[in-house]
């Protein structure tokens, strides 16, 4: 294995690689650490301030313990898209410009741990059983790679379907029926088919305009997999770690979108709608349901369209993604945000301690409340301050239905193939069967042995 760069040295250009030697422990014991984190939504700025507060608390603890080390932490908060942030990290790691503490979606673990760029944290965690036990156990699974833990969950969210309460009422739903809907969904008594039928009914009775029954996101992403899960599919073989393309669940998903666009519930060109049009349509009250929502949307919409809590609660209701088959549980997908430590960090232990203290319950709660995310510690979830927010209380209840994206390096490709297939069905270029066939062929060509069709 050799770097193609070796060839380039022949160029003879001065290879005076810049980049300040970050964080060699100075004589006075100061350890300089850098951290990158991202919103992109501005309300998640507490991701940055919590790290800063965590560093202060670590310094106080160090002082109290007579340790002469001190952390000097510089945190950068990005608001450019997640996608661009991921690319930036790739280039930064490849050029030794990556920060010491990396925060981002948990899939970064799958990406950078495999490349040997992240420090395993198991030995620090082993020394802190109480902390480990207090974090929701499901979350630890999302930051694991190859049986080792490479990150600490920083916050969490759940994916939901949003429905307009005002439009349900115009369809004749009673207040009791509306408020009882989440329980029916939880029991598998309200399925994706029921949702589609409801949307068709709303269109037929002119409660909404044609093609304004169910709208959804317009880009690739993990969200599309939640439908496969809802139809009982699985995405990863735990034994081999290979990705799975579940034929039956996929076909059912494709048939659902075929029905939605054919039946006039969803516009065939949904995927080319601008974001703002989609949000303005649903939040503005023109559309019955937003299929691929997330818990963070509430706050985003409230800010963008100036809606207070009371009005939001009276107009919009959130349910987990309904099951595909009657009697089955609904699903949700979580995409925990995690902080990782660069394997080249000057002091991995101190970096870990900063992350640990940034999750002190008060900070955990402050971030969750301020950004409509879920807390990661059970004790914070049970605190009065957190439970006082009915929306977040309900959301944390959905963790029982939640799934995570497999930490697989080729997940992005499978994601795009599924997106392309759904889009093909929606615009009517492909039948569901043709779309499935397309997916199988392209998945084999692009993922090879990393995917199993079952």
């Amino acid at each position: 294995m050799w770097s193609p760069g070796a060839l380039l040295l022949l160029v003879g250009a001065a290879a005076c690689t810049s980049g300040p030697a970050s964080g060699e422990p100075a004589r006075d014991g100061t350890v300089t650490l850098t951290a990158w984190t991202i919103g992109p939504e501005p309300s998640s700025y507490t991701r940055k301030t919590n790290l800063v507060a965590g560093a202060e608390r670590v310094n106080r603890a160090l002082g109290a313990a007579g340790d002469r080390r001190r952390v000097a932490l510089a945190v950068d908060f990005a608001t450019t898209s997640n996608d661009a942030y991921g690319k930036k990290l790739v280039f930064a790691f490849a050029s030794d410009n990556a920060p010491d503490i990396v925060c981002g979606g948990h899939e970064l673990v799958g990406q950078f741990a495999a490349a040997g760029r992240l420090a395993p944290l198991d030995r620090f965690l082993a020394a802190r059983p109480a902390f480990v036990a207090d974090v929701f156990p499901v979350l630890w699974g999302s930051v694991r790679h190859d049986r080792r833990v490479y990150g600490v969950p920083q916050d969490n969210e759940v994916r939901v379907t949003y429905l307009r309460v005002d439009l349900l009422r115009r369809l004749g739903w009673s207040e009791a029926a509306v408020r009882g809907l989440p329980a029916r969904v939880a029991a598998g008594d309200f399925t994706l088919d029921d949702l589609a039928a409801l949307a068709e009914q709303a269109v037929a009775r002119r409660v909404v305009a044609r093609s304004s029954g169910i709208w959804h996101r317009t880009r690739t992403g993990f969200d599309w997999f939640e439908l496969l899960l809802a139809y009982g599919g699985r995405l990863e073989d735990p034994a081999t770690g290979r990705l799975i393309l579940p034929r039956r669940a996929t076909l059912d998903t494709l048939r659902l979108f075929d029905r939605l666009t054919d039946g006039g519930a969803t516009p065939p060109g949904m995927m080319s709608y601008p974001d703002r049009t989609v949000y303005a349509g649903f939040v503005g009250g023109d559309v019955l349901a937003y299929l691929t929502g997330g818990s963070w949307h509430k706050l985003e919409w409230q800010h963008a369209f100036a809606i207070d809590d009371a009005r939001f609660a009276s107009e919009i209701i959130a349910i987990p993604i309904p099951a595909g088959r009657r009697g089955q549980p609904p699903v949700s997908v979580s995409h925990p945000f995690a902080c990782m430590v660069n394997a080249d960090a000057p002091d991995v232990e101190l970096a870990f301690r900063v992350i640990e203290r940034s999750l002190d319950p008060d900070l955990d709660i402050a971030h969750a409340l301020g950004s409509s995310h879920l807390v990661v510690r059970r004790s914070s979830g049970e605190s009065a301050a957190y439970r006082a927010d009915p929306f977040l209380r309900e959301m944390i209840g959905l963790l029982r239905f939640t799934h995570f994206a497999p930490n697989h390096t080729k997940l992005l490709r499978l994601q795009r193939i599924l997106y392309d297939a759904i889009r093909g069905v929606e615009v009517g270029v492909l039948t569901p069967e043709e779309a499935l066939d397309f997916m199988e062929r392209v998945a084999r060509a692009r993922l090879g042995d990393d995917v199993v069709v079952e």
Partner: protein, 281 residues
């Protein structure tokens, strides 16, 4: 001017207006949106109420979001980047175009063809290769590396345009300068260059724009917010709002485009000035 000529001219202008209408409407919307409040529009284009709030980012850095550098820092970086690229590109391309037009040397034909073929190399994957090259030259994390890269990518265009302009300058004007005792380089500077100003103006426009608009390279090859250009500034506003803050976005976009409009007007003047005084043949 005769009636027919006037009618002709009126027809031409009418055609121009018709062609430009959708563009003008879209830009009108953008400017109006930068002063608009809320989401509603009347007549499909006018905001229902007006405000200057969207422009607060000019004097209040936090108006464009937390941890976003001042718009003036980003403007300075954009100017440095675009002007450096323009100056380097114009001077190198003009010299090289002159050589290709006026000198014979071995390998000239193949070299010229090669310069054109270079343009077929897509910058999409050159992104990764360029990253590797800059990394090993120690040119990452600075705007200068990006300047050199952009100039190199722009040079084939500039060389070809300039060669075309030099070709159209009659050899006689150069000859008479040589007769008067100029050296070849002296004749080039004093006699030929003034005659190709339209060409210089046109490549200046494009190379300036290439620098002014660059996003991908700046984003991928620099790692510090002190290197942010206006394109990164704009992008950070766009992606975080789900497109909801159209007003702020429009204001920043208009601010971003204003210098270019002035630059265009200036370059246009350059073009017409030469037309009047330049080619005497």
């Amino acid at each position: 001017m005769s009636g027919a000529a006037l009618r002709n001219r009126a027809l031409l202008i009418a055609a121009l207006v018709l062609l430009a209408l959708p563009i003008a409407a879209a830009y009108l919307w953008l400017v109006l949106a930068s002063f608009g409040r809320g989401h509603e529009l009347t007549w499909g284009i006018f905001p229902t109420s007006y405000t200057t709030d969207n422009w607060r980012f000019l004097w209040d850095a936090s108006a464009a979001g937390r941890d976003v550098p001042s718009v003036w820092l980003a403007t300075r970086n954009s100017v440095v980047l675009a002007v450096s690229i323009m100056v380097l590109d114009v001077s190198l391309a003009t010299n090289a175009g002159y050589v290709f037009s006026r000198w014979t040397f071995r390998g000239r034909g193949p070299l010229l063809a090669f310069v054109m073929v270079l343009h077929a190399f897509p910058s999409v994957t050159l992104l990764v290769s360029l990253f590797i090259v800059l990394l090993h030259m120690g040119l990452l994390d600075s705007l200068w590396g990006i300047v050199l890269v952009k100039v190199a990518l722009q040079l084939p265009f500039g060389i070809f345009v300039m060669k075309g302009f030099f070709d159209s300058v009659p050899w006689e004007s150069e000859m008479s300068a040589l007769m008067d005792g100029c050296t070849r380089l002296g004749a080039y500077r004093r006699v030929i260059l003034p005659q190709v100003m339209p060409g210089i103006a046109s490549i200046a426009i494009f190379s300036f724009l290439e620098g002014w608009k660059e996003f991908l390279f700046v984003y991928a090859f620099t790692f510090d917010k002190s290197s942010w250009t206006l394109s990164l500034y704009l992008q950070s506003i766009l992606s975080r709002t789900g497109g909801a803050q159209y007003g702020l976005l429009a204001a920043v976009a208009v601010f971003y485009m204003l210098p270019v409009v002035f630059f265009f007007l200036f370059a246009q003047k350059q073009l017409s000035r030469v037309q009047l005084g330049g080619v005497k043949g």
